[in-house]
């Protein structure tokens, strides 16, 4: 369900998937503007706090401290959580995580569970795994439910169905929830989903959630939602399973005062999510499990260049601001986490499969500027490119082009000759550049060829 589009066996790369998304120009403009609208809301929220930059700096430094001492903080968290009556599990990879979830469900002889948003379970492809074991997972976040009914993966970590138009959701709900045909009123559609999902909340004995923050000092976990779906699911269930990457730890409860001020403002421009729930002990009679998942994180901690990516608090601000993400859509990244942050996280998981992603960027740096924990995203994108070329994961055509350019640029004679030839061909044989084999000709006209070179212009004009 959550695998990226492929043709036969071949996984399409970002450029190919983006090209597909770009076929519908109107939709691209709409997608771009919707995300830009959210980016603007984020700016307003950030600018309303004079202490914003101080908060980012503090958050970034707290996370540095966490990464430096993760070993100790995890042990603290485990001890405190267990003292609170929570069962703590450790999973080295996605497979083990899925097996742990499955074994808990199996012990309870349950076949249907509710789940609130968790990017970790997306990363582990947990829904697919459980489906194969005969267990149905009902996603309860409205956006996630929409993409689930459509058989898709979320295209954005905060706004899972940002690529869907309301008319399409109307058709989908008409088919699955029996809403009136042709009705696409968001109020009516949301009410229909509320009614339908309420029956699942009422009947499900087990709830799976993600984790936004886990506090080492107290052994509590914090979950943020606007809909209240995590809380409703957990409070009506006999068993609660919370799944988290090991980097979600923060040292002390009071640090939430920094992170919660940043998270929702960065994500949607809200001052705070509607619910920021602190789970310290299970409700009387309830069993609560926390699964700590590594899946490549401890390995990455050893890499000086890329470890900072583990500071991410999953706000999605880097996606909303990214000129490439906004115009290529989340699915073009063929990874659970899309956008700039996804493009630096994915190659660490599978360098070969995700070699294209660090190139899905203009390196404009906007992602780095909005990141609430100051991850050097665009620098890491650049560093990944170098590593990928070094290790031979980049297409030979790209390599050959860059080699050729380096020869030309290092010889003044060749450079002059190449410029002259280029201008002549553009003027006299425009077909040679204005064709579908030239990637610079896609979706744009080639410029008028200049009459002479810059060098020529400069020589003429310096005299004046």
């Amino acid at each position: 369900m959550s695998s990226a589009p492929t043709i036969g066996e071949k996984q399409l790369d970002h450029a190919e998937l983006a090209e597909r998304f770009n076929k519908d120009e109107g939709r691209v403009d709409w997608h771009d503007q919707t995300l830009w609208f959210i980016r603007n809301k984020r700016d307003k929220a950030a600018q309303s706090l004079p202490e914003w930059e101080e908060l980012r700096e503090a958050a970034s430094r707290i996370k540095s401290n966490v990464l430096n001492n993760l070993h100790d903080y995890l042990i603290d968290f485990e001890r405190n959580a267990e003292a609170n009556g929570i069962t703590v599990h450790w999973a080295r990879d996605a497979q083990e995580h899925n097996e742990i979830v499955h074994s808990i469900i199996q012990q309870e002889r349950i076949t249907q569970v509710v789940k609130s948003k968790s990017m970790l379970t997306e990363e582990c492809h947990m829904n697919d795994y459980l489906a194969k074991q005969g267990i149905e997972v009902i996603d309860t976040d409205l956006g996630e439910r929409i993409v689930q009914l459509a058989g898709e993966a979320p295209s954005h970590i905060v706004l899972p169905c940002i690529h869907w138009k309301k008319e399409e959701i109307g058709v989908l709900f008409n088919k699955h929830l029996g809403t009136p045909e042709g009705n696409c009123d968001p109020v009516l559609l949301t009410a229909a989903a509320r009614e339908n999902l309420r029956t699942h909340f009422m009947s499900s004995r087990l709830a799976i959630t993600g984790v936004n923050f886990a506090v080492a000092e107290t052994g509590e976990i914090v979950i943020c939602t606007n809909e209240g779906n995590a809380d409703l699911g957990v409070q009506l269930a006999d068993i609660h399973i919370a799944c988290m990457g090991i980097e979600k730890i923060i040292p002390q409860r009071k640090h939430l005062g920094i992170f919660l001020r940043l998270l929702a403002r960065s994500a949607t421009g809200q001052p705070l999510t509607t619910y920021s729930s602190h789970f310290q002990r299970p409700r009387p009679g309830q069993r609560m499990h926390v699964i700590l998942v590594d899946n490549g994180r401890s390995e990455r901690l050893g890499s000086k260049d890329f470890r900072n990516a583990l500071k991410c608090i999953r706000c999605g601000a880097c996606m909303n601001t990214c000129p490439v993400y906004r115009r290529s859509g989340g699915h073009s990244y063929h990874n659970a986490i899309a956008g700039p942050i996804g493009a630096i996280l994915a190659p660490a998981l599978d360098m070969k499969k995700n070699a294209d992603l660090p190139f899905a960027s203009t390196l404009c740096g906007s992602c780095t500027h909005v990141c609430p924990v100051k991850i050097d995203i665009h620098d890491q994108l650049y560093k990944w490119r170098q590593l990928l070329v070094q290790d031979g994961h980049v297409a030979t055509s790209k390599k050959a082009g860059i080699k050729g350019m380096s020869v030309v640029l290092s010889s003044p004679f060749l450079y002059k000759a190449a410029g002259k030839l280029g201008r002549w061909f553009m003027k006299n044989v425009p077909k040679l550049t204005n064709n579908k084999f030239n990637p610079w000709f896609k979706q744009r006209e080639m410029p008028e060829p200049p009459k002479g070179s810059f060098r020529h212009w400069y020589r003429e004009n310096r005299k004046k």
Partner: protein
């Protein structure tokens, strides 16, 4: 080696001295009075804010705001008028509650959130399952920002607690804001004059 030992061993090999933990002393600056800010923000996120002189006034204001009959549950001892609610043997039985009334510890001006702990909820499911939610705080218990909020919370004890900022909401369908996604469709915050 089991997974726990394996993960911890790898993390240990990457331990580095690095920076100390910064003291997060970053008080906010509201640029306006706490109460004004709270009201503006709460209204902006779809909530309602009203004043009450005393507990009798709370009852009167709630009756005026919710005139239709329904199942009301209250967890505040001072409000004897309404049925008192405790931890339920089965939280599913709360599904038809139309109005839940409970006391919060304090509200936060910068984001309209109210801090409420499980001992104030009766049943933990109540603030999420009821159709409408009314929270009462003392007017003097308004804190400017989350910084002051966590100064207050830092060492407190609770089993479960939450910040509630406005009614349950979603904007997943084309960014159109809809109130009442899964939880309460409305949220009323009652500021009680010091009694």
């Amino acid at each position: 080696m089991n997974s726990r030992e394996q993960i911890l061993a790898r993390l240990k090999s990457h331990l580095s001295a690095g920076n100390d933990l910064p003291e997060p002393v970053i008080p906010g600056n509201l640029r306006t009075s706490k109460i004004d800010k709270l009201k503006t923000v709460l209204t902006g996120i779809g909530g309602h804010c009203i004043h009450a002189e005393n507990w009798a006034d709370v009852v009167e204001k709630l009756r005026a705001k919710f005139p239709s009959p329904g199942r009301w549950l209250n967890t505040i001892p001072q409000l004897e008028t309404f049925i008192h609610s405790n931890q339920q043997p089965d939280p599913h039985l709360l599904e038809d509650v139309t109005l839940g009334v409970m006391k919060g510890h304090f509200a936060v001006a910068e984001n309209g959130a109210v801090w409420i702990t499980s001992d104030q909820m009766g049943d933990r499911a109540l603030p999420f399952i009821c159709e409408h939610l009314a929270l009462v705080i003392n007017e003097s218990d308004v804190l400017p920002t989350m910084y002051e909020a966590y100064e207050f919370i830092a060492d407190s004890k609770y089993d479960f607690a939450t910040f509630i900022a406005g009614p349950s909401k979603t904007a997943d369908i084309e960014q159109s804001l809809v109130l009442g996604a899964h939880g309460p469709k409305t949220l009323t915050l009652i500021l009680l004059s010091s009694v």
